[in-house]
């Protein structure tokens, strides 16, 4: 049975008010808390290290996989390997997420390493939410790695969201994209206080007509700092677009270093990066609609990170 803290965190990272339909694996403080398999989706524990294998049968249609992780013990360091094997033509929606509730004085950390083998013409959406809470002085640390291999015609939408409470994060995403395959990576991040976030990304467009869109939206408040380093490499006729937008507030610092490499004459890669404060004219416009400056700021940030 889940306790109240676990339930609250599940709501934050997985919008789970109750155990959802589909395949489910809930991990809490390094232990399997709950698991449910379906006919097409089998989750098994690894025998050589911490983590699970998730096998999704070919041509599975419109099924969901939920694999949230909860850390509630102060000082707990969790390192877990989750490997997804998605069969040809499968269509699945995968929701992961990690919530840390640290009310103690020791640092709590979860390092999730997710590897996706996406079969031919499979279509996957993967959503990962990170959330931290707790009144203790111990840090809440999350260092996720997401590694993806897309076979011919595969399509992945990867959405990562880290909105509040995570003191330190170092994220790494790597994707190798095959022929006619495409990946959209949407990253949303808000740091506050003296939090620090680093996001590195490598996308290799290796197959003819491979495509990627990388969209990063972040807000850095107070004295927090962020570094983005998205790199896209085109090794054939392919298309890639990297867009990093950051809103900077208070005494925060943001570095964005997008890098594109074309190793083929028909590789078409674009990058855009913009960092700046909220435009005064945006706040003024919303004030003419009756909002205070603070309310206007809140609405602008809410939309920006939607």
């Amino acid at each position: 049975m889940l306790n109240e803290i676990q339930k609250r965190i599940l709501e934050q990272v997985a919008d789970m008010a109750k155990i959802p339909e589909g395949a489910v694996n809930i991990r809490s403080d390094g232990q399997k808390e709950y698991r449910h398999n379906t006919k097409n989706i089998q989750i098994t524990s690894k025998t050589d290290k911490e983590g699970i294998d998730i096998h999704i049968a070919p041509f599975t249609k419109d099924e969901e996989v939920h694999i949230p992780v909860i850390v509630t013990q102060s000082g707990f360091h969790d390192l877990v390997y989750n490997d997804f094997f998605i069969g040809e033509g499968a269509q699945v929606n995968i929701v992961a997420g990690c919530g840390i509730s640290n009310c103690g004085d020791c640092d709590s950390e979860h390092d999730g390493i997710h590897t996706f083998h996406v079969g031919k013409n499979a279509k996957v959406t993967y959503t990962e939410k990170h959330y931290g809470e707790g009144t203790g002085t111990g840090k809440r640390i999350l260092n996720p790695q997401t590694i993806l291999y897309l076979e011919e015609g595969a399509s992945v939408t990867l959405e990562t969201v880290q909105i509040k409470g995570v003191d330190d994060t170092k994220r790494y995403t790597k994707a190798e994209i095959g022929k006619d395959a495409e990946i959209t990576i949407q990253e949303k991040l808000l740091t506050h206080g003296d939090q620090h976030a680093v996001s590195e990304m490598d996308v290799f467009l290796n197959g003819e007509n491979a495509k990627t869109r990388v969209i990063s939206r972040s807000v850095a408040q107070d004295t927090s700092s962020q570094i983005f380093y998205p790199r896209v490499e085109g090794n054939c006729a392919c298309f890639g677009h990297v867009q990093c937008d950051a809103i900077i507030m208070g005494n925060a610092k943001v570095r964005a270093i997008p890098e594109i490499t074309c190793n083929h004459v028909d590789a078409s890669l674009i990058h855009e990066a913009a960092i700046g404060r909220i435009a005064g004219e945006q706040i003024t416009k919303l004030m003419t609609l009756g909002l205070t400056a603070e309310e206007a700021e809140e609405e602008i940030l809410k939309g920006f990170l939607r």
């Binding site: 939206r217 004219e281 003024t284 416009k285 004030m287 609609l289 602008i300 939309g303 920006f304």
Partner: protein, 244 residues
């Protein structure tokens, strides 16, 4: 009723201070449809911004329904019932058209309500409600959404700064119908800065602002022929009289 008393706006310029508005006093009666027109750089937008609180006057006072609002913020004036449609509205990454309409109305709008505001500015609601108000929209589209937000706010005093600017002929025709409806309903006070004859002809009253002052004021039938007469071949009366 809106009353401006001895409003002046002076800004620093290369050769000393420049007087943008010079001791303007005027009143706007409730539920009148008033068009402010005049040559570029004459002070029309400054006048409108001073009323909304986007600019602070160097001197003078503004009263709205008997209350001195000179020191009030933009938001406070908005809450009292003043709204403003920008000539060049900003764009918002991530904010949707439906978000802006919700904020303007101050409540969640039904799909039908939100659609009706977009229809009034010649936009097909189905195509636009879920669109981001960002650079994916053309200038004319953003402008029409701006006007829709003012309609959604439904304030007692609506100020529009050149609503026709950047809008295509077809959409402008629809927009004119909307202003005609506002005029016919006679429920709101409308102050429009415009150079368009079709809007000017809707007015109960025209205020001609030039050189930082109200030069003329009166009904359309009196003022508009005067303006037309004075702008023949680009030589207007102000120049003839040596006022520019």
């Amino acid at each position: 009723m809106l009353e401006l008393r001895n409003i002046s706006v002076t800004v620093p310029a290369e050769n000393g201070d420049a007087d943008i508005l010079k001791n303007i006093s005027l009143t706007l009666e409730d539920k009148k449809f008033v068009v402010v027109t005049g040559p570029n750089g004459g002070g029309k937008t400054t006048l409108a911004k001073v009323i909304m609180g986007l600019l602070t006057p160097s001197a003078g006072q503004i009263f709205y329904n008997g209350q001195d609002i000179t020191a009030l913020s933009i938001a406070q004036r908005a809450k009292l019932g003043i709204s403003y449609g920008f000539q060049q509205p900003p764009r918002f990454k991530g904010m949707k058209v439906s978000d802006l309409l919700r904020i303007a109305a101050g409540r969640f709008l039904t799909h039908e309500e939100a659609c009706s505001y977009l229809t009034k500015v010649g936009l097909c609601a189905r195509d636009y409600l879920d669109r981001d108000v960002d650079t994916s929209l053309s200038g004319g589209e953003v402008k029409r959404i701006e006007i829709a937000t003012v309609l959604a706010k439904n304030a007692d005093l609506m100020i529009y700064d050149e609503p026709e600017a950047g809008i295509d002929l077809w959409s402008f025709a629809r927009l004119t119908e909307t202003f005609q409806e506002l005029h016919d309903q006679q429920q709101k006070t409308i102050l429009i800065i415009s150079h368009q004859e079709r809007i000017i002809r809707l007015a109960d009253e025209i205020i001609l602002v030039a050189n930082g002052q109200v030069q003329e004021r009166g009904p359309v039938e009196k003022i508009y022929p005067m303006i037309l007469n004075d702008t023949v071949a680009g030589c207007n009366r102000l120049e003839v009289e040596g006022k520019c």
